[in-house]
């Protein structure tokens, strides 16, 4: 239904995007980590935020991952990417675990269909998947496949409620992670928001996690 409606506006934005190259800045001011009981909530963690538009009209980031440690609850500098210090790495819709093609650790992960609270222990019959960058990831990419849906016509990405990521950390600990939102400030722009806002504010991760 909406495809043709969007055709015109998208064509227009295609033309508009090409010359539009804002300078790369990473907004770190809003980033925060809070702890309540054993649940840690991370807000506004940028994951390769948009710095411009490719020749094909796709919004692109700088290609830099943001590394995060579930064990220490800290944003890990990129210099430590080749270490066991991080457990999750974020860049756009890619979420990587520290193992194989992604890092030297013994990380892993899979997606559990069910709420964060209902998951009290790692199900016995579960298998931790590994990253095989760039072909596949422990936490799969793609709309509706793992933790998010993406709607092309409205150009909005929304985490799916009731999807919990089960993560094995670089050092082999188990944790559960729920991604709450993908936009700056923690609220998804409305469908009628300008494309420029939808692009500017995306790739800001909000998630909560706790160790088993």
């Amino acid at each position: 239904m909406r495809f043709q409606l969007l055709l015109l506006t998208s064509l227009v934005s295609f033309v508009a995007c090409e010359k539009d190259k804002p300078t790369p800045t990473i907004d770190q001011r809003a980033y925060s980590v809070t702890t309540s009981g054993n649940v840690v909530t991370v807000r506004n963690l940028p994951g390769d935020t948009i710095i411009g538009v490719s020749a094909q009209g796709q919004p692109v980031g700088a290609g830099r991952y943001t590394f995060f440690s579930l064990e220490s609850g800290q944003w890990i500098p990129n210099a430590d990417s080749n270490s066991n210090r991080w457990d999750l790495a974020f860049a756009g819709t890619i979420v990587r675990v520290n193992n194989l093609t992604s890092g030297p650790g013994s990380g892993g992960g899979f997606v559990f269909n069910g709420s964060f609270e209902s998951l009290t222990s790692v199900p016995v019959d579960s298998t931790f998947r590994l990253d095989n960058h760039p072909v596949s990831y422990a936490i799969p990419r793609g709309s509706g496949r793992a933790w998010y849906t993406y709607d092309g016509p409205t150009n909005l990405l929304t985490p799916i409620p009731g999807r919990t990521l089960v993560i094995r950390t670089a050092n082999g600990q188990r944790a559960k992670v729920e991604i709450l939102n993908y936009y700056r400030g923690g609220s998804t722009p409305s469908t009628s928001a300008a494309d420029s806002i939808k692009i500017r504010d995306q790739r800001f991760f909000h998630f909560r996690y706790s160790k088993f």
Partner: protein, 703 residues
């Protein structure tokens, strides 16, 4: 406002003679759409709404949208022009006819109601509930049939109207630069030459459009010129035969320059759109006796929609969209009365063709042939019971055949009460878009949509070239499309304690299956999504419609209508019941969704109500007030769970007030004035075709 007061004053101070105002609902009126034969409204077994020309004129309605939006149970939708939602079903599921033959040229299933002029239309009949047993594809929610004025009556009449509106400033000043202006001119000529009876209807509408959206000077409604011509011709041949011809031509032209602001850039564009449509409808009726009549009908129609968009800074990326559709049909119908039974037998053959830039190539004409037959048996057991049973079979060249039965019953125990019950099957054939669309949008995100006739081949080819990252599970379900089906049940009660009061209730339920949905079937290596169509959805709508008409004084009539509507997707409902759908708590965390949070299909309002009040002391002297309310409706899924629930994005409910009035200036001249959308309600995002208040004045004449 002063104008209104002035008109009211004139009306109230008038000393004109009393005239019997038409009731807004008269059960003695004759309708044809419900059974393909003329029947009194009080004798039909299905819900029918009849809109007479007087109501159309007094409401100041120019286009089909204007009058339909004021009818109980009909909701106007805003995507791809203005469409009509009936009993909660999408616009593509309502068949729109002129003298019993369909209008073509739908975009994404929507026939733009603003394309259809009401000039030369005598009455509009709206039949709710599936009517595919008589009319075939698209008649799933119901049928809207526009009946043209009969030729021959000696008449020259016409009108000229000027209207203006200004959404920013509220009360419009004529010729205000930021507002819109509208001119409508209409000329009707009827005459007779020997045995030939003629009627010509000409209508011209100009609207210079208005831009009220942020980031854009694009004028919506757009600057448009609409021209409609309609000729009807009737000639008796001998005693028993009659030849009738309807010619209709319509052209819309939209041209505008506009600028859109996007990411700080200003893009200047020039858009040109031309929609042309004509149809020819010859009919020969042979009445062998009182009991036997034969109708031979031909029908040829052509629609061309041509849209061009030029970018001033980037002329090479200009955009052309062209869609052409032809329909050729020949149909025979036999009406036969035997005792208490009235039989109708019909058969027809139809060729439907389309070509478009939206398909693989403009030169590749797509074609579907349909052979069909239908029968209906109306049995008048006695004065109390009438039973109507019908069935139709459509054999399609491109997809599965459809069989659609229907049975309806009317029970009238006495003069005051009447009960109507009906159950029927409706269907909608897959349209050319769902079979042949070949569309790729390269902009932000990027996606493609392929019709099912080509999707598998194209995706396999892309896969062979290494362009496909992943095939989705739905890819394996891609198959030839089948028609969409619905089963509709209506149960109504009419109570008419006296001639001036009518109360009507109608409960309805529609169960829709093999509904065609757009699904992602593959992903390209650059992440772009590929969509196609699948017969996968099951949905339902049910509700209650009520109407109360009361002529409480010889000059005063009131009418109220209300529709309560619930809808839903059956698979979504199953998932919610099993506790598999989640929603988010205020802190953003997930929890299981409960059934009462589910709101059903998007773009549906639970409540719709209207109130109409008319004061008519004389034939051309009246005041007509209409209050139209629609409750909020969901727009988009904002919490990612794939179902529409109370957390999602809604458009606000709103009240629209339309007011009109008329006074006779001289014997043959009437002045009419009115205000549409008196409260100046606007919703830039969700009601793009609904500009602010419109004030108009019309001069009607009749020689």
């Amino acid at each position: 406002m002063r104008l209104v007061v002035f008109i009211l004053f004139l009306l109230l101070s008038s000393t004109s003679l009393l005239a019997q105002a038409d009731s807004l609902r008269n059960l003695q009126e004759v309708v044809i759409t419900a059974t393909r034969q003329e029947r009194r409204l009080g004798n039909v077994a299905v819900p029918v709404t009849l809109i007479q020309q007087q109501q159309i004129r007094q409401a100041g309605s120019l286009r089909l949208r204007d009058i339909l939006q004021e009818q109980s149970g009909l909701v106007m939708t805003s995507a791809f022009g203005v469409g009509v939602q009936m009993q909660g079903l999408n616009p593509e599921h309502t068949l729109i006819l002129v003298d019993g033959q369909p209008l073509v040229g739908r975009t994404s299933g929507v026939l733009d109601l603003n394309r259809i002029a009401l000039a030369g239309i005598k009455r509009i009949e709206i039949v709710k509930g599936p009517s595919s047993s008589l009319y075939g594809s698209e008649a799933m929610a119901g049928v809207i049939n526009l009946i043209t004025e009969a030729p021959g009556k000696k008449e020259i009449s016409g009108s000229i109207r000027y209207g203006t509106g200004n959404p920013d400033k509220g009360w419009a000043l004529p010729f205000a630069s930021s507002g819109f202006q509208q001119v409508d001119a209409d000329l009707q000529v009827g005459y007779q030459v020997g045995k030939w009876k003629f009627r010509h209807s000409n209508n011209y509408l100009y609207n210079d459009g208005i831009s009220f959206r942020p980031f854009s000077t694009d004028r919506i409604p757009r600057p448009i010129n609409r021209l409609t011509h309609q000729t009807t011709l009737l000639r008796p041949i001998g005693e028993r035969t009659e030849f009738k011809l309807l010619l209709r031509a319509n052209q819309d032209k939209i041209e505008q320059e506009f600028a859109v602001r996007n990411n700080g850039q200003i893009i200047e564009s020039y858009g040109r759109e031309k929609n042309t449509e004509w149809n020819i409808q010859p009919t020969v009726t042979y009445r062998a006796s009182q009991r036997l009549a034969l109708h031979s009908r031909g029908f040829f129609t052509r629609y061309v929609g041509d849209q061009r968009l030029f970018f001033v800074q980037k002329p090479d990326s200009s955009y052309l969209d062209r869609f052409e559709q032809h329909l050729y049909r020949f149909e025979q119908q036999l009406d036969w009365t035997i005792g208490r039974s009235e039989w109708i037998f019909g058969a027809g053959y139809q060729i439907d063709q389309a070509r478009s830039t939206r398909y693989d190539a403009l030169d590749n004409r797509k074609q579907n042939r349909v052979a069909y037959a239908f029968a209906q048996w109306e049995w008048k057991l006695n004065e109390k019971w009438i039973s109507v049973a019908g069935m139709r079979y459509d054999d399609n060249q491109l997809f599965a055949a459809a069989l659609t039965p229907k049975w309806s019953l009317r029970y009238k125990p006495n003069e005051k009460w009447s009960v109507q019950a009906s159950v029927g099957q409706g269907f909608k054939a897959p349209d050319f878009r769902q079979l042949y669309l070949n569309f790729t949008n390269n902009a932000a995100g990027g996606y493609s949509v392929y019709g099912t006739q080509d999707a598998i081949r194209i995706i396999n080819e892309l896969n062979r070239l290494g362009q496909i990252a992943e095939l989705q599970p739905d890819f394996s379900k891609l198959a030839d499309l089948t028609p969409e089906y619905s089963t509709g049940t209506n149960l109504g009660v009419t109570y008419q304690p006296k001639q001036t009061i009518t109360v009507r209730f109608n409960g309805f339920r529609n169960d829709i299956r093999s509904l065609i949905d757009v699904r992602q079937v593959a992903t390209r290596i650059d992440g772009a999504q590929i969509f196609s169509y699948l017969n996968v959805k099951r949905a339902y709508t049910y509700g209650l419609e009520s109407e109360f008409n009361w002529q409480f004084h010889s000059k005063w009539t009131m009418q109220t209508g209300y529709q309560w509507l619930r809808t839903g997707d059956k698979d979504e409902l199953d998932r919610i019941k099993k506790g598999l759908e989640y929603t988010r708590a205020p802190d953003g965390s997930s929890r299981v969704m409960t059934l009462h949070e589910y709101v059903g299909l998007p773009n549906r309002s639970e409540h719709q109500a209207q109130f109409k009040l008319r004061y008519q002391p004389a034939e051309h002297r009246f005041v007509f007030l209409r209050l139209l309310y629609r409750s909020r409706w969901t727009i988009a899924n904002s919490n990612g769970n794939g179902v529409h629930d109370v957390q999602d994005e809604y458009a606000n409910g709103f009240l629209q007030i339309n007011l009109s009035g008329g006074i006779p200036l001289r014997k043959n001249i009437q002045l009419q004035a009115g205000i549409e959308n008196l409260l100046n309600y606007q919703d830039v995002n969700y009601l793009p075709n609904f500009p602010g208040r419109n004030i108009y004045m019309t001069l009607n004449f009749k020689l």
